[in-house]
């Protein structure tokens, strides 16, 4: 008998429900509160909601996968892991906004918080659905909220520019994704990824091979935009620079993680049969690898002459998207594990770096790298923390970033893609130049003013979390690696009724 609504166990959706309810509550509270009431507690409230959602997400680990309404909502280990990462990122962003976003600067403090929650909800849906429509709705919820968030500094010219560019280019990307999806639907008559999985093979074999590939590449074009890989990266520097710093960190960390969850799920579930037919190796893989290589080269070389911290980090984000594409394109031995590990590593180190960037932006009144000058004299702790994050971003041991790169390289080398491994380490060396450029400012240059820089509690807490994460994951990778290795990643690729994965 077909399952109807009440037959499902809706409690599995607890995290999403919490976030949605919190967003709704906050929007109401914002409306009924007096205009001049301090809305900073919104961030704390949202943080509490996020923590509750994390709790419910984590408590589902180890249970059987579950789906609701024909896979439109689906919890498996893949979804849970990525959702945990997304929520942790959102939590850190809220922590940063609790301190970093002031009502005097942003008139819409209330909107800021619940839009962030809405974006988080979108990201969560992107991680845990196996239906094209739901996935796309999640993607749009995330994107549209981010467009507004990028422009929420309404008085600032740069913020407006960021929002505008983001909307236009994001809209184009969404259109491409939809176009690709429509081909998929046309070929298979379904939006359920597992049905698609079955029918695409047939479509491919019955003479629609060009359409199958066309649908894939159209979607990849849009995805390339969302994960900020070259050559679809033109928006990244402007948006990162113009958006308020907490929003930028959200875009860098949460959007990227969610987008990768989406890409992995759609591409691997829908198109993995191409591997069996050798088409993946001949067509898809080279394309993806070229994207990855381009991202690394463009991201790392363009970052060389940036003078704005956030812009520099934007190009570094492009480069990291390139690294992250390697496991997917090579389908290496530790595809899921390394991608996920790298995303966590990227989360902690980038959040740390953006926290410092936000601190200095407030201190110096501008986002130029010269604001870092002499930081080691003014605040040795902050300088040391930033050094750790930069070393990690540059992939130097003993940090999470190094181990992440190590892990990703294993994919490339185990599948004998030496040239991409070469590009990866080569561009990593190039990246030393600009990452250490900031270190040079902090340690080698004299400070602009002699007085010590005060670091308030909240950012200090963020820095501590960042350092613990970055160094902890690097020195004792087993904590994370073990946990990641034990997850049933394959459950994402198989429909629920197919039984457990074969031997």
């Amino acid at each position: 008998m077909e399952k109807v609504l009440l037959d499902y166990d809706w409690t599995v959706m607890a995290p999403e429900i919490i976030i949605a309810a919190a967003a709704a509550l906050l929007s109401l509270a914002d409306l009924f509160l007096r205009e001049n009431t301090d809305r900073r507690f919104f961030s704390w409230f949202s943080l509490a909601a996020v923590i509750a959602a994390i709790f419910f997400t984590v408590s589902r680990f180890g249970q059987q996968p579950y789906e609701i309404l024909g896979d439109t909502y689906r919890v498996d280990d893949f979804a849970l892991a990525f959702k945990t990462a997304v929520l942790s990122g959102v939590g850190l962003v809220f922590l940063l906004s609790a301190w970093g976003v002031r009502q005097e600067e942003i008139r819409f403090r209330g909107e800021y918080d619940y839009l962030l929650l809405a974006a988080a909800l979108g990201a969560m849906i992107m991680t845990s659905s196996a239906d094209l429509i739901t996935l796309f709705v999640g993607l749009e919820l995330l994107s549209i909220s981010s467009y507004i968030l990028a422009g929420i500094h309404r008085e600032r010219y740069a913020s407006n520019e960021a929002a505008w560019k983001y909307v236009v280019q994001g809209g184009v990307a969404s259109a491409f994704i939809l176009y690709g999806m429509s081909f998929v639907y046309g070929l298979t008559g379904s939006t359920n990824l597992y049905t698609i999985q079955q029918r695409l093979v047939e479509a491919y074999q019955t003479g629609y091979d060009a359409f199958v590939l066309l649908s894939l590449f159209l979607m990849l074009l849009g995805f390339g935009f969302k994960i900020a890989s070259a050559p679809f990266h033109m928006w990244v520097p402007d948006v990162y620079q113009g958006a308020p710093t907490p929003v930028t960190s959200f875009l860098a960390v949460v959007s990227k993680t969610a987008a990768f969850a989406l890409v992995l799920r759609i591409v691997l579930v829908g198109y993995i049969f191409l591997y069996q037919m050798q088409i993946w190796q001949q067509v898809v893989e080279p394309v993806l690898l070229v994207l990855a290589g381009l991202s690394m080269v463009i991201g790392n070389t363009a970052a060389l002459h940036q003078t704005d911290t956030k812009r520099l980090l934007a190009y570094s984000s492009v480069a990291h998207a390139g690294y992250l594409l390697v496991p997917l394109s090579t389908l290496g031995a530790v595809l899921f594990e390394s991608t996920f590990y790298y995303l966590i590593a990227y989360l902690v180190m980038t959040m740390g770096a953006f926290t410092v960037a936000a601190l200095l932006e407030r201190e110096a009144g501008h986002g130029n790298i010269s604001g870092f000058a002499g930081l080691s004299r003014r605040s040795p702790g902050t300088a040391a923390a930033m050094t750790v994050f930069l070393l990690s971003l540059a992939g130097i041991p003993v940090t999470a970033g190094f181990f992440g790169k190590f892990y990703i390289l294993m994919n490339a080398l185990s599948t004998q893609h030496f040239w991409i491994a070469g590009i990866m380490v080569g561009t990593t060396v190039i990246s030393y130049y600009y990452y250490f450029g900031i270190i040079r400012q902090m340690y080698f240059r004299p400070p602009a003013s002699k007085d010590r820089m005060r670091v308030p509690m909240v950012p200090a807490l963020l820095l501590v979390i960042g350092i613990l994460g970055t160094v902890g994951l690097g020195v004792v990778p087993e904590w994370a690696v073990h946990w990641i290795g034990d997850l049933q990643w394959m459950s994402a690729l198989t429909p629920l009724n197919a039984g457990p994965p074969g031997p």
């Binding site: 109807v4 609504l5 009440l6 709704a24 929007s27 109401l28 409306l31 009924f32 046309g186 070929l187 298979t188 008559g189 049905t195 999985q197 079955q198 029918r199 093979v201 047939e202 479509a203 019955t206 003479g207 629609y208 993995i272 049969f273 591997y275 069996q276 389908l331 290496g332 031995a333 530790v334 595809l335 899921f336 594990e337 599948t415 990643w489 394959m490 690729l493 198989t494 197919a498 994965p501 074969g502 031997p503």
Partner: protein, 152 residues
């Protein structure tokens, strides 16, 4: 009924994974046949206005005068430029309209099928719609508090 098995090489994707795939195939012509409807509608869409204008031209008498050839605007004398700027307030109304419009679009079929649905699913049908209405209601409150409802 055809059946294809895909074995993904165990060394490449972690645990050995086997996806068994079986389905009814879509054959080549059938695929294009699905699009024939679209093509027909497209052609009809082009043909219909063309036909209407042409046939109308044949049927109607043709005695133009100055009063007759001015632009038709609901029986009122036309004035001003054809390009008119609307006040931005109207857009807010348009957006507001969406709330109620969407609500109706969903509520109507739901109300018609309510009895049948309730037999199948139970009271959850009502709860579900209430959740939906609640969210739209929040939208309305938003509009109200943001002073969209006031004409200033």
């Amino acid at each position: 009924m055809r059946c294809t098995d895909i074995y993904i090489h165990p060394s490449l994707l972690g645990q050995g994974l086997m996806v068994r795939i079986s389905f009814d195939g879509v054959t080549g012509m059938e695929y294009w046949a699905n699009y024939s409807m679209t093509a027909i509608f497209f052609l009809l869409g082009l043909a219909l206005p063309a036909a209407a204008f042409t046939v109308g031209r044949w049927l109607r008498p043709h005695h133009p005068s100055a009063a007759k050839i001015i632009t038709y605007e609901s029986g009122v004398d036309p004035f001003g430029d054809s390009r008119v700027q609307f006040h931005v307030r109207y857009y807010l109304f348009a957006l507001l309209f969406v709330i109620f419009d969407v609500e109706t679009v969903f509520l109507y079929p739901w109300a018609v099928a309510y009895d049948t649905l309730r037999q199948d699913v139970g009271l959850f049908v009502l709860v579900e719609m209430l959740i939906f209405v609640l969210f739209l209601f929040i939208g309305l409150i938003y509009a109200w508090k943001k002073k969209v409802l006031e004409w200033k």
